[in-house]
């Protein structure tokens, strides 16, 4: 949980990788909100006609007096949340990430972030893994947008448990937050006791041949890739970089210095995403070869989660190929 001392790395066990438990991150958001609702009467939840889809129904059923339906009006919702925050509430709003990050970007920038109000934005259905809804609903630009706005904080949790912890932790900080999570069940790679501190990356696997820095659902893909690389005698360090802002500069610099090669992996556009954020730190501290696994500047399309991730080049084999490329560049130095 937030505020606890960093614990020793907890390598994910290999059997878990082969047949992981699958759970929805949006349920983690919903359960985190209920936990908060019980703990803090200032917590209120707003939703834009997507109660079940974002799992804020958990909170709404429990705390109907603190549950605000805004209808299909994301711009209004962002600013109503700001007004609630201005009078002492801790508002969480929920809608699809495509709308939260783009439709109400100006409201997030001017009213929420410039005033630095503790509005917590739940951006559901992030990434290509949304699946059949297609390009309009597959948010893949949130990191670029949110990270560029001063005062904003951003978390891209990797699984159910981390989404739940991120939700709870965000309420305890006075900054505005954007929490990105997904629709479909995704592999569980942490548990209820895994430490979570905003701004501190978790080392999930030790290694020094290269480092794989990932966020969101790509953390699992990174672990699968690292396990496969290990069978070839390559030991990859895997970092779960759940907080995109503020970035864990120390962990990134350490990975660059100790491993000498970095692969980043994200379910996001390559422009302005995790890879770019990591590169900003690497080039100004300890420059090493990097490879970026990300969506290559294209819109999504309808399909199943698995086939889309493969088609868009963000499955574990893509991470392995990137690792091989970066290792050959490392050796050539």
């Amino acid at each position: 949980m937030s505020g606890t001392a960093p614990a020793a790395p907890r390598p994910a066990a290999a059997p878990t990788l082969a047949k992981p438990e699958m759970k929805r991150t949006r349920e983690g958001f919903g359960h985190g909100l209920v936990e908060l609702g019980e703990r803090d009467p200032r917590v209120v939840v707003l939703v834009g006609d997507l109660t079940g889809s974002t799992n804020v129904n958990f909170f709404g059923e429990r705390f109907p007096d603190r549950f605000i339906q805004v209808g299909i009006a994301e711009q209004n919702m962002m600013c109503v949340a700001a007004g609630l925050a201005a009078v002492g509430k801790i508002p969480f709003l929920a809608t699809y990430g495509a709308f939260a990050s783009c439709r109400s970007a100006d409201q997030m920038r001017v009213t929420v972030a410039y005033t630095n109000l503790p509005v917590k934005i739940g951006g559901a259905h992030g990434g290509i893994s949304v699946g059949p809804d297609g390009a309009t609903h597959q948010a893949m630009e949130e990191i670029a947008i949110v990270r560029s706005i001063p005062n904003m904080r951003m978390i891209v949790p990797c699984d159910y448990w981390e989404t739940r912890k991120a939700t709870v932790a965000a309420a305890g900080d006075a900054h505005p937050y954007y929490i990105r999570f997904g629709r479909e069940p995704v592999p569980v790679v942490t548990d209820a006791d895994t430490p979570f501190t905003i701004g501190r990356a978790n080392v999930l696997r030790e290694g020094s041949d290269l480092a794989i820095l990932a966020c969101g659902v790509m953390v699992y893909e990174a672990l699968v890739a690292a396990a496969e690389l290990a069978t070839r005698g390559i030991e990859a360090r895997v970092l779960n970089l759940h907080t995109l802002k503020p970035l864990d500069h120390a962990a990134i610099e350490r990975a660059a210095r100790e491993c000498g090669a970095i692969v980043t992996a994200e379910e996001h556009q390559v422009h302005g995403g995790l890879g770019g954020a990591v590169a900003e730190v690497v080039v100004s501290t300890h420059p090493v070869p990097m490879e970026l696994v990300a969506v290559r500047d294209r819109f999504g399309r309808s399909g199943k989660q698995e086939e889309l991730m493969a088609a868009f080049g963000i499955k574990s084999p893509d991470v392995i190929q990137a690792a091989e490329r970066v290792l050959s560049r490392k050796r050539a130095r």
């Binding site: 209120v44 009006a73 109503v80 409201q107 001017v110 009213t111």
Partner: protein, 311 residues
Amino acid sequence: MPRLDFDKDQLRERALFVRRDIIALLARSQSGHSGGPLSSADFGTVLFFHEMNVDPSRLDDPARDLWHFSIGHVTPVIYALMGERGYFPLRDLLGFRQFQGHLQGHPSKHDTPGIEVSSGSLGQGLSVSCGMALGSRMDGNPRRVYCVMGDGEQQEGQIWEAAMFAAHYKLDHLCGVIDYNRKQIDGDVQDVMGIAPLADKWRAFGWHVVTCDGHDVASVLSAFEEARSTKGKPSVILAKTVMGKGVSYMEDDYRWHGVPPNAEQAEKALAELGTTLEAWTKRLESHTAPAVAPSANGANVANGPNGGRRP
């Protein structure tokens, strides 16, 4: 002095001071908006010196009414009202839009204590005010929330999202005020993008609509009174005004929306407003501590009979 109870003559005098402040600060900054601030000066003065319960010496007073200018660009009138009301010394007005000052071109909470939420991108303020009103009601706080909008701003779609929201949640302690000066940057509102029939639109969205002469103190006072006594639905006051009101060469001329007067023009404006640039600048410079600025006869009205409080 949470609530000042200025009488009509005092309100008229204070509105005149606010106009002089606007011209003097624009003459100094040589950057900023003239037209809208002058059209908002009279109803703004009634809001700050009669209607609202605010205490500039206790910015976090939980009993305070909340005010928010969705039209962030009218900072000259916002700051003039704040200075006259005692949020900060009037001297600070001379630092408007300057790097060293604390008065940004558009209202900034973290630069100017007393601003509740920063604003400047049009269309967002009514939504913010809705959140303030709903959150206050959740806490059982009986305060009122005032949101000043522009008529050109009515072209923003988000205004109507917020209008729907406020009526849906029956936010009858929320009062919108529209500075209906019929001008925007590119020209007459009706030519740029018609908003009429505006009163009908607000009524159709479930609001109680009050129309008043935004320059007539008595008319504005009764409009606020009517809004306050309306229950079960939010109220909006359509304050009919003239852009640039009080300065002959600016009145009703959209070209004065976003430009300041030069020194010569400011001198002419202040002559029409009964003073000189030198005299009024001197007054601003001499006001160095935050307090309700003195009246023309030298008396601090707030310390007069009743201590300025509403009985």
